[in-house]
């Protein structure tokens, strides 16, 4: 259908539309008009992606000079592929409606592992291996060597791409990962480099967060993207963690030992080269004097490591003299290494900010801030000069030099907190959201969206930006297809809670077990249960086993349990789906914050009930967390408790929201902890869940829960047709245009 969104003609590839989608597009349009940032929360399964794409594509077509590019960042590979498929549907609709040939170029970008078509390389199983092997075939000096030595193996796909691929633009169209591979195979070009090159002139790019947020990668991939782009972060509810993760470095004694070995290798290699080919080192020295500008123009394949800091600051300066020659630099590294070793020997916890750290290092081993900043860049240059192909071996030293650069660069205003732990880990954590800021500054509109962003106002605070629109949308429903219940007590009236004092309590564990047992008899097909942590789950499973609860559950359903091994869990997950599919029914025990809770949807019969055992607070004794909380308190005036509750509730909502993936879907959401009934917890759940929690569903006993659940499931099992929805939660174009419907729609969005 064709929509009129405040004067913008939007093609929407379906005959029906949800009211909230219309409302969402309105808000989005206002965001784009204002050239500002937006935070939008809309329940999953209400067609967020297609609304986003429809509107932004329409905007791009209408104002090609205002918005040149859409950068769509999603979290997982399947998500990325889903987005591209939806986009394809939209574009097909455009072609059908307008009759014009599509002149849009949209593509997905992923790591080499997902894009490589080299028969040997792509057969490797792990991303790291694929990357390493690729480097060893495509690095510039390897290719140079081939001129003199034709037997040197190179990647013919890259060679082909390098020879002709850049001159011939990739024809417009929608390229998913498989399409890219197919295209690459047909032309004999490397799809990965093709995609990386093509994103510069593509209209729509779909890739993972990391390509934009992680400075180590962003520098390589996303550096030249235009300012007039719209950036969308989908599923952005834990984007702050992504930022922190990519800026955190763990150093253990083992790392340092390997580092030592690396330094030794470097030393011997330098000595050897000096004897054979001194000119090479001379050449490098000369280059470094001239500054790093030229080195940065080095060929794209030489990704020894990329600079973790924003490039421009460093590239304008020359590498400081004391690390310019290779030997001096190695010496410098050695000293730095010794210093770190010494720090690790400390048997108590030290927490300090970057300036403190820098001061300390200056006093102890006379290392200045400036050379530290160039450490990463200098190592990159050295490794290239020494022609070391296998960078996997040098990961340790790379890590250390990145650490040096990070710690010395982000000292001003933003806090990095190195620790020495009494055990083995030295952790450096730039406990800030600095990464995000450049993104906000760089691009004209950044939209953060997810199914669970509540409370909305905290995101701008922790990410430190000022959005022009902030809105939360509810789900209009013809039937209440979600049923959140807060179970606070067992049948014996003992309060259920995962709080620290009672979590090992026998009665609590038994009541949790009884809850699951009784549910397994009532709920058809799949049940997913989430625990607060892996250790807790292990303990509970063990004691359920001893008490015979699991055996009784097995009478009703098969049991599958998430393990810490991803491959094992995938198998369990597949079996779980199989069991749901063939009607046996199954229970999946899983962990909040785990991989399952973040990336897997349990549509329809795969999840008819989700149980959240306890409140998934993060492990509060962790020093990293403490530092982060302190930072938040100092910088943004966010109270520790607020943040912790916010963090716990967003994960709980995320887990529980896995069950509902659309309006035809239905599911029970069971919060098994009496603390959920408190207003401060409940109030932090997304609005679309909150509004279905009635006073009658707070602090229930297990029996009462079963009553409500049975009633709910019986109601939901009735046939549900389109006619039931039409006009209420599903609209045709005519219905959409009616006056009072527009009135209603304006109430869907709640401005924060």
């Amino acid at each position: 259908m064709k929509l009129n969104i405040e004067g913008l003609l939007v093609y929407f590839p379906y005959d029906y539309i949800y009211p909230e989608q219309y409302s969402y597009m309105l808000e989005l349009k206002r965001t784009l008009d204002a050239k500002g940032h937006g935070v939008l929360e809309m329940p999953s399964g209400t067609g967020k992606t297609i609304s986003l794409l429809s509107l932004i594509v329409a905007y791009q077509k209408a104002y090609p000079l205002e918005v040149t590019k859409l950068i769509y960042c999603s979290r997982t590979v399947p998500e990325i592929e889903k987005v591209v498929e939806e986009l394809r549907k939209l574009m097909d609709f455009y072609t059908k409606e307008t009759g014009e040939k599509n002149n849009f170029l949209a593509l997905a970008l992923s790591s080499r592992k997902n894009l490589c078509i080299h028969p040997e390389v792509s057969s490797l199983r792990f991303g790291k291996e694929v990357d390493g092997k690729c480097h060893s075939l495509t690095a510039s000096y390897i290719r140079a060597e081939r001129h003199s030595n034709p037997s040197q193996p190179v990647c013919r796909f890259y060679e082909e791409f390098d020879a002709v691929g850049r001159q011939v633009p990739i024809p417009p169209g929608i390229y998913n990962l498989d399409d890219l591979k197919e295209f690459g195979r047909r032309r004999g070009w490397c799809p990965y480099y093709l995609a990386r090159y093509a994103i510069l002139h593509a209209n729509i790019v779909v890739y993972s967060y990391h390509y934009l947020l992680d400075p180590k990668i962003a520098d390589l991939v996303s550096k030249e993207l235009a300012k007039k782009s719209v950036v969308v972060f989908d599923e952005a509810h834990n984007i702050d963690n992504v930022c922190i993760d990519s800026m955190s470095v763990n150093i253990t004694r083992r790392t340092l030992d390997r580092c030592q070995a690396n330094v030794d290798t470097l030393q011997t290699t330098i000595r050897r080269i000096k004897e054979t080919d001194a000119a090479k080192l001379q050449e490098e020295y000369r280059r470094l004097v001239e500054g790093l500008k030229e080195t940065s123009a080095a060929r794209e394949t030489d990704i020894y490591m990329s600079n973790p800091i924003l490039p421009d600051e460093v590239l304008q300066e020359a590498v400081p003299g004391n690390i310019r020659t290779a030997e001096h630099f190695v010496g410098f590294l050695k000293r730095f290494l010794e210093y770190l070793k010494a720090r690790l020997r400390v048997h108590h916890v030290v927490q300090e900010s970057s300036p403190q750290f820098l001061k300390d290092i200056f006093e102890k081993v006379c290392i200045d801030r400036k050379p530290l900043r160039f450490c990463a860049e200098r190592l990159r240059s050295l490794l290239r000069t020494l022609e070391i192909a296998d960078i996997a071996d040098f990961s340790a030293i790379t890590l250390i030099s990145n650490f040096a650069t990070l710690v010395s660069t982000y000292s001003k205003g933003k806090r990095a907190a190195p620790y020495s732990d009494s055990t083995t880990s030295n952790n450096v954590k730039s406990s800030n959201y600095i990464l995000f800021q450049p993104v906000f500054e760089r691009f004209q509109s950044v939209v953060i969206t997810s199914g669970t962003l509540s409370p909305l106002d905290i995101y701008p605070r922790i990410l430190d930006f000022h959005p022009v629109t902030m809105a939360s949308f509810t789900m209009t429903l013809a039937r209440t297809c979600l049923c959140p219940l807060i179970v606070g007590r067992g049948n014996d009236q003992v309060a259920m809670s995962s709080k620290f004092e009672t979590r090992e309590d026998f009665a609590v564990i038994r009541n949790y077990g009884n809850l699951l047992l009784e549910l397994s008899a009532v709920v058809p097909d799949g049940i997913v249960a989430f625990f607060t942590s892996y250790v807790y789950m292990e303990n509970i499973v063990a004691s359920w086993y001893e008490q015979g609860i699991l055996e009784n559950i097995q009478r009703n359903k098969l049991i599958f349990i998430e393990t810490q091994d991803a491959a094992e869990t995938s198998v369990a997950l597949e079996k779980y789906q199989e069991a749901c599919e063939n009607g046996r029914g199954a229970i999946l025990l899983s962990v909040a914050r785990g991989k399952v809770s973040e990336g897997i949807d349990f549509v329809h019969h795969f999840g008819r009930a989700v149980i959240m055992f306890g409140v998934p607070y993060v492990y509060t004794q962790s020093r990293i967390l403490k530092a982060r909380l302190e930072y938040l308190r100092d910088q943004y005036q966010i109270r520790e408790n607020d943040f912790l509750t916010f963090d716990a509730m967003r994960h709980a909502a995320q887990c529980v929201g896995r069950a509902i993936r659309g309006k035809t879907d239905y599911g029970l959401m069971i919060f098994a902890d009496k603390r959920y009934a408190r207003a401060d917890k409940r109030g932090k759940l997304p609005r679309w869940i909150q509004e279905h929690i009635t006073d009658g569903s707070l602090n229930l006993t297990i029996d009462e829960t079963m009553q409500l659940a049975k009633h709910f499931l019986r109601q939901m099992a009735q046939p549900f047709r389109r006619e039931d929805q039409l006009g209420l939660s599903l609209l045709t174009l005519e219905q959409l245009q009616s006056e009072d419907m527009l009135q209603k729609i304006s109430q869907i969005a709640q401005q924060a």
């Binding site: 379906y14 399947p78 955190s248 292990e538 009478r555 997950l573 035809t664």
Partner: protein
Amino acid sequence: MAALSEEVLLVVKKVRQRKQDGTLYLMTERIAWGPEGKDRFTVSHLYADIRCQKISPEGKAKIQLQLVLHTGESTTFHFANESTAMKDRDAAKDLLQQLLPKFKKKANKELEEKNRMLQEDPVLFQLYKDLVVSQVISAEEFWANRLKLSSTDHFSSNNNKQEVGISAAFLADIRPQTDGCNGLRYNLTTDIIESIFRTYPAVKQKYAENVPHNLTEKDFWTRFFQSHYFHRDRINTGLQDLFSECAKQDEKGLKSMVVQGVKNPMVDLLSLEDKTLDEGYGSLTGPSTSNSSKTVKENSNSAIIKRFNHHSAMVLAAGLRKMDTSSDQASETSSTDGNSRDSDTFQPPIKKVKLQEAIEYEDFQNETGPKTIALKLKKFDRYSHGPVPLQSHHYSTSQDIISSVSCIQEEMSCYKPCLTQVMSSSAASSAITALSPGGALMQTGAHQTVSQLVPVDIQSELKHLYTAAGELLRHFWSCFPVNTPFLEEKLISHLEEMIQAAYNKFHAWQMRRMMKKT
């Protein structure tokens, strides 16, 4: 006479039936009773015919056993041997208890199968009505060669679908009971044993290896329950343990499952993340999990978790195993004869389908009718031509056809009618009339109208008679060559009768027709 070839499992003397003393025999296939002093059975029931057995309540004067048949009849045996009556009865009861379930399934299945066939096939149903209901031939005779036919095709395929799954909690059902003197008693039923075997083929293998050469059955199961294998929180599997090998095999199975990975890309957690952080980056998640720091308890906990996953997977697989093997074979054979590229191009569709599924909004789409199953063609040529003999030197490939079609098209494009040599219009129109239906040259088509002349009900009646007679004839001919006295008897006595009956029937029908006509 038949008893000679049968193995007699149990003989109970002094059993009364209809106030007559006699002996009860339990044989492999049937139960029989003969009055004292005669070597002939007056009562004989196949186990398959027995629906259930009933026994007289404890403490009643008469100790009896009643057999209820599927037909509703029942036979009562009275155990009259005063001293051992109870024991005799129990022995008979226990044996029956073991034997009956085996036959029961078969009987029920047969009945079900017959019912199904009749329901599915209206022609057969009519035949059944004509022949059996009107008592021309007996039901057994009617089914005698039908079921054999069907058992080859329908039966086997149906069997698989009807396979009963395994309860996930079958191990939990084996509740140990204390036997009063500091020991445990496990009650095993055949069902449970079968469940164990089906779920854990490794145990079955062990069983086959060791029972009865090395161990008695009882010992085997005793060891099984003592083994760490049975107890899931096992950690140390001693070498002397019979089942340690099973455990290892399980582990291997689990590993191979993990290595194989998952088919559905949407649940593959390994490839979910687009860019995993390099080692050393990222904040530590929780306490470090090195092996050494793991306590014994944690180890056993994770063992339990693993066992549960494995157990559930095995139970699930046991239900699907049979189907799997057949489909596996199919895919294997097809991959050998299909060209190898098929297997390559086979993989993406699963992903595509899953992706499409994932982005579909049920309520946005207009109904597109029921979902159809895509036709999978391994060899397109085979599909379009059917199987051809190997030395087929002269069949046109699709390429040939296409080229000839294009050839004709080409010729047609440059075809010029030669107007001077055409025949006159009157001659042409007469030729056309002669060739159209009813024309002079199309007379042969006239007899088709017979079917229109006869009313439908008569047609169908005739058809029924025809098939009934055909069936009888089939029975008749199947008696040749006459090499057993039974066949001879059949042929002489009642087949003749049957055919006579059929004649009569036909005659009656014809008479009726004549009557109606006149």
